[in-house]
Assembly symmetry: C2
Homo-oligomer: 740 residues x 2
Amino acid sequence: MAVVPESRVLTFGVFKWSSYSSTYLPENILVDKPNDQSSRWSSESNYPPQFLILKLERPAIVQSITFGKYEKTHVCNLKKFKVFGGMSEENMTELLSSGLKNDYNKETFTLKHKIDEQMFPCRFVKIVPLMSWGPSFNFSIWYIELHGIEDPDVVQPCLNWYSKYREQEAIRLCLKHFRQHNYTEAFESLQKKTRIALEHPMLTHLHDRLVLQGDFDACEELIDKAVGDGLFNQYISQQEYKPRWSQIIPKCNKGTQEINRDDMTSDGDDNRPGMRGGHQMVIDVQTETVYLFGGWDGTQDLADFWAYSVQENQWVCISRDTEKESGPSARSCHKMCIDSQRRQIYTLGRYLDSSVRNSKSLKSDFYRYDIDANTWTLLSEDTSADGGPKLVFDHQMCMDSEKHMIYTFGGRILTCNGSVEDSRTSEPQFSGLYAYHCQAATWSLLREDSCNAGPEDVQSRIGHCMLFHTRNRCLYVFGGQRSKTYLNDFFSYDVDGDHVEIISDGTKKDSGMVPMTGFTQRATIDPELNEIHVLSGLSKDKDKREENVRNSFWIYDIARNNWSCVYKNDQAVKENPSKALQEEEPCPRFAHQLVYDEMHKVHYLFGGNPGKSCSPKMRLDDFWSLKLCRPSKEYLLRHCRYLIRKYRFEEKAQSEPLNALKYLQNDLSLTVDHTDPVETKEFQLLPSALFKSSSDFIPLGFSDVDQTYAQRTQLFDTLVNFFPDSMTPPKGNLVDLITL
Amino acid sequence: MAVVPESRVLTFGVFKWSSYSSTYLPENILVDKPNDQSSRWSSESNYPPQFLILKLERPAIVQSITFGKYEKTHVCNLKKFKVFGGMSEENMTELLSSGLKNDYNKETFTLKHKIDEQMFPCRFVKIVPLMSWGPSFNFSIWYIELHGIEDPDVVQPCLNWYSKYREQEAIRLCLKHFRQHNYTEAFESLQKKTRIALEHPMLTHLHDRLVLQGDFDACEELIDKAVGDGLFNQYISQQEYKPRWSQIIPKCNKGTQEINRDDMTSDGDDNRPGMRGGHQMVIDVQTETVYLFGGWDGTQDLADFWAYSVQENQWVCISRDTEKESGPSARSCHKMCIDSQRRQIYTLGRYLDSSVRNSKSLKSDFYRYDIDANTWTLLSEDTSADGGPKLVFDHQMCMDSEKHMIYTFGGRILTCNGSVEDSRTSEPQFSGLYAYHCQAATWSLLREDSCNAGPEDVQSRIGHCMLFHTRNRCLYVFGGQRSKTYLNDFFSYDVDGDHVEIISDGTKKDSGMVPMTGFTQRATIDPELNEIHVLSGLSKDKDKREENVRNSFWIYDIARNNWSCVYKNDQAVKENPSKALQEEEPCPRFAHQLVYDEMHKVHYLFGGNPGKSCSPKMRLDDFWSLKLCRPSKEYLLRHCRYLIRKYRFEEKAQSEPLNALKYLQNDLSLTVDHTDPVETKEFQLLPSALFKSSSDFIPLGFSDVDQTYAQRTQLFDTLVNFFPDSMTPPKGNLVDLITL
C-alpha cells in the first residue's frame, strides 16, 4: 500500500483580486501579524463579486486551507465564503463552502481534493467572500496558508490523470452526440482512434437492440436480467423515501373481530389504551411488541401499562395500576428505556404539579420491570441520594444493552416551592449527563450542565432528542430548549471514550436545510442504515402554533453528515392541496410517543396533545405505523416494461392502428397497475396517439435526425437512467455546454 | 424589410425558488398590489444563493422586464440584481445586471435578447437578487412583468436558429479538438457529414501550410497579405492604448539650434513661455498651432500671449502684454476657446484676489482675438450687464463654430467683499449655463444653477470638464465641485434640442471603474473616434494629496457608454516600480492646460502647479505631447514574422544546430527591433533552445500527439488570434468545458 505523503505548506502568490481598499493590499494575506490591524486584505466594498485568486508556484494537490485572524473579533471577518480551485482560472471547481468563527483563532478547513479516490491537482485557488460578520462591512482576510502535496512524483501522475480524464469525458460527450445524431462514420472513427468507451457493453447492446434494431422483446429481457442482477439498486438507494402512514385498528380482546372505528369510545376501554399525552413507549424489536406506560389524560396522571403485539394486532393490558403491583405510581413526562436482550424495562422521572411538590415528594424514584417475570422492582427511592440525577421531567434516557448501562441527560429539575423569600430556586435548573451501571446499581455524573463553550462541555436542556447508536456506541443529542431559548446544536458523546464531538454548533443558519427548532421533535435511530429519523410536529408553545402547521419528517445521514427532508407538509399543501389529503397522516401534536423497529423498518406513534385551544384537556389515543418507502425492484421492472411497451404502441400507432389498439389493450395493459389512479389516468389517455400526426413532437435540436431514431434514442436515454452512473453514457450533452 | 412585431406581455408561472419567508410566497409576484405590504415574494434571508426561476408558458423572445414596487420605499427592495434566461434551467445566459431605485415607481429594463442581430428565445428566466437597500434585510420582489414576442411565426425560426447555432458551435469545438489531436479520420467524417466549417478557408490554408506542411515561407506570405488586406484591423482596434509622453524641447528663436535643456532658465526667456499655472491654451488644428495666454507665475498674473507651431517646433511671442494692445489685462483662471473656422479666439472670466475685489473691478469683460488680423476686440465690458454670466473663474467654455455660438457653464461668481454684516454673500454662488450668439452678440441663460433633481435641472460647479461634440452637437459635462462636495455626475446637453440627458447620476458606486473625483481632471474630445479623454492629476486640496499620486488617463467610449483606464499609475508603481520610471511622463500637477489635436491624435500639456508644499510659489513651464498608441500594422507584421521564424529556429535547433544558429543570426535577427530592450533581451535568450531536450515542454493534454504537430498547432493558435473572430476557429476548447 502506497505511503501517503505528508501535507506541507504550499508556496503561492496573489495572482488577481477584485478590488482592495486603501492600504489593505491583497499581498498582506501572505504574512501573519495578528496584532497588526492593517495586515490584511480588505475588499473595496462588499458588492459582489469580490475575490482573491492565488497562484501556486507549481501544480499541487491542495488539501487544506488555513485562515489566520486578527487578535480580536472583527466585523470584516468572513462569515460565509467559498473556495474554488483548478488548473486554469476559467475552469475551477468548488472545493469548500464554509464560514469563519468571529474570534481570534486560526481555522483550518479540508479542501475537496479527490474525485472518488483520485487526487486532482490545482494551480489556482480562488477565495470568494460572500458575507462578513458585520452585514455592511467590507470583507477582510488576514492570513492564508495552503497545505498539500507538491512532490512531482505524486503530482505528475495526478496531472496525467487529470488530462486523460478531461480528454476521456470530452470524447464521450462527442460519441454520445454523434450517436444521437446518427453520425455513424464519425462515431466509429472516433471510437476506433481513441479507444474510449462510451458506456458499459451491456448498454451498447441495449442501444443496438432498441434503437438500431427495434427489437423490443430483447430490450425487455435485458432489463429483466439487469434488475435481477441488482443493477437498479443504486438508483433505488438514491430515490427519496415516501412516507406511508397507516392508522392501526387493533383487534379487540373479545374475539378476533376488528373493532368498528365508530365504536371506539373516548373512555379508554378494556381493549386499548385511552387518550393521553406525556406517556412513554418502548419497543421490543425481537418480539415486535410495543410497551406503553402512564401519561396524562387531560385530567390526571395514569398508571396503566399496555403491550401491543404487531403480529396479533392486539393490545393487552398488563396492569391497570402499576402502583398496586409494586410498580411506579401514576405519572407522566417520565422516561422509559428497554433492554431487549435481558427483557427489562426501566422508568425514571416524572412531572409534578407545583401544588403537589413538597420535599417529601421530590424523590426521584427509579423502577425496573421484568417482562418475563411480569414484576416491578424499585431500584432506588431517590436516585439523587444514590449519586444520580434529581427528580426531572422532559429528560432523555437510553439503554446500552451491550455494556448493561443506562444514560440519562437533561430534563428540568423539580424543586420545592419554598417561601417567597427563597429566590434562589426561581432560576430553572437542568440536569446533567449521568450513567447508571446496571450491574453495580451505581450512578456516575459524566457531565454537569455547563454554559461554557469548552470542547467537552455540554449544555443541559429539556425536550431534546437523545439516541444511542448501538454500533458506534455514541449518544446523539440535539435540539431542546432552556427556558425560552431554543437550542439547535447537535453533538455526539462516545460512551466508551468519554468524548464529546460537536456535529453542529447551531450557529450557522442552515435554514430550510435542517429540521426547525421549536417544534416538538421525536427522533429514532437506525444503526444498520446509519440514519436518524426526526418527526417534527406541533410546538408546545401556544404562541408558536400556526394554524396550518403540519408534520415534517427528516432523515439525518450520519456518515455523510447531512439532513434531507422526506416531506415538509406546509409546502406540499401550498403546492398541491389535494396531495396532502390524498394520503392520511396523523394530525400534528406534541407530547406523543414515537418508537422505531429497526429490524422491520417501521415506526409506531401513539396519542399526544393536539393543542386545541378550544379543548385544552383533549388528548389523543390514535395509533399509527409509518413506513418509509422507496420504489421496489419489482415496481421498476414493471415500470420499464410499461415504458418500452408504451413506446412500441406509439410506433405501431403510426403504421398499423388496429394492431396498435390490440397491443394497447393486451400487452401494454398488463404493465399498468389499474388500482393506481395516476397510472390508470395516463393509460386512458394513450389512445390519443392513434390520432396524432407523426411529427407532433421532435425534440429541440434533433430536426436533422430520423424521427423514429430520435424517439427510440429518447427511450434509450430514459432506460439508461436506472443503471449505475459507472455504466452509463455521460449525463450531459455536448450542446448544453454551449452558452450564448 | 420585415415588420418587427410588438412587444407584448408574456405569460409565465413561478417555477422554482431558493426560499421564501412566512407568507411572502413566490407566487405573489404575479399580482400587482402596491398598497399591500404582504403582496410580495421575500426570501428567507439574504444569504446567497437566492433566486426565483420563472417558466414562460411557451418559448418567447424576452425583451424587457418590469419590476413593480410598494407604495413607499422599502428596505427589502433590490439595490442590485441580475437576470438570466435560457431554454433550460441549466443553461442560462446573463440578460441584465442592474438595480432598482428605492422608490415607488415601476421600473422597466431592456433584457439582452439578441446575439449580434439574431434574436434568441427563452423558456426560463431567473432573477437573482444580490443586494437589498437595507444591508441585512431579506430580498423582496413585489411584482414582475415580462414583455416580448410569443408569436410562433417569429419564435419558431429563432428556436431553429438556436438549435442550429448550438449544434454548429458544438461541432466546431469537436473539429478543433480532433484536428489538434490529429484524429484525422474522425475530423474528416464529421466535417463531411455535418458540412460545418471550422474556420475561414484562408485559415484552413494557413493550417495546412504551417502545421501539416511546415512551409513557413508560405505562412509569412499569407500573413503579409492578410495584414495588407486589413484583416488585423479588428485586433488593433481591440488593443489597449499605450500612452507615450514626450517632452517637447522647442527651437529657440535665435537660429535653428535646439536649446540645451540645461540652458533653460526659470525666468521665462524670449524663446518660450515662462512657468505658470491657471493659464489657458487652445489649439488650431488646421495649422497645428497651440495658443497660450496669461496665467499666474506664483507671484502675479500674466498677460503674455504665445503661439507654438508644431511643424516648426517653435514658440513665438505674439504679445508680451495684451493689455497694451487693446486686449485683456493680466489674468489667470480665465477660459479661452477657439473658432478655427473663423480663426478667432475668445476669452472670458478671471480670478481676482479678495483684496482687489471692489464693485468696479467685478465686471466680466469679454474679448476676442482675430488671429490673422492680430487684433483684440472688447466684445463686452461686463457680460452680466448684457444678460450673460457675472464675473466667474474655474468655469468652462466651448465653441460651436458651426452655429457660431459659445457656451459657458459653471464657475464661481466673484463677489465684492461687503461689510461684515453682509452675510448673504458668504454662501458661494455658482454660475449657470449660458449661450452667446456671436453674430448678434447677445446672451441667453439656458439653465440656472439648480439643486433640484428634475430631469432638465443642472447643478453648477467649478473645476468641472465641459466638451463640445461637433458631430452630435452635444455638450458633455462631468465632475467638478461645489464648495467641499465633489460631484461625479455626468450629463450631456443637446444644444439644438435644449435637452439635458443624465448619463450617470454618480450615485452608483462604480469605484475603480471611472476616473476618481477630487483629482484635477483635464478632458478633451475626439468627435471622430467618439471618445472623451480624461487626464487626472493632483488634487487641489492639500489634504487630499498623497505622496505618491500619479497621473491616470481614462477614455470614455461615448457610443458604448463605458470608461476604460489607459493607465492608472498608482497600481503600476505597486506592481512594477521600474515600469513607471521606464517611460517618462509629466509629474502630477494641477492648474495646467491640456489641449487635443483630433486630426493628428496628439495631446499637448503645458505648465501648472506641482503642489510642492515646500515651494508654494513654484510653477512649471514644461511642455509635453501625448500620443496614445496601439500596435501598428507594420509592428504586427514584424511580430508575426518573428514568431514564425522563432519557431522555425526552435525546430531547426533540434536537428541541425549549426544551421539553426545561422538562421538565428540572420533571418530571425531581422525581425527583432534591437533598439527595444525587451525584444533584445528575449532574442539573447533564444540560443538556449540549442541546448534543450526536445520534450521540455509538452502542453497539458497533448501527450498523445506528435510533438512537432503539437507545437506547430500552438503557433497556429497564436497567429490565428490576430484574425477577426468571424474567421477563426472557436476560442474555447472542448476539454475546458469538462468540470471536475
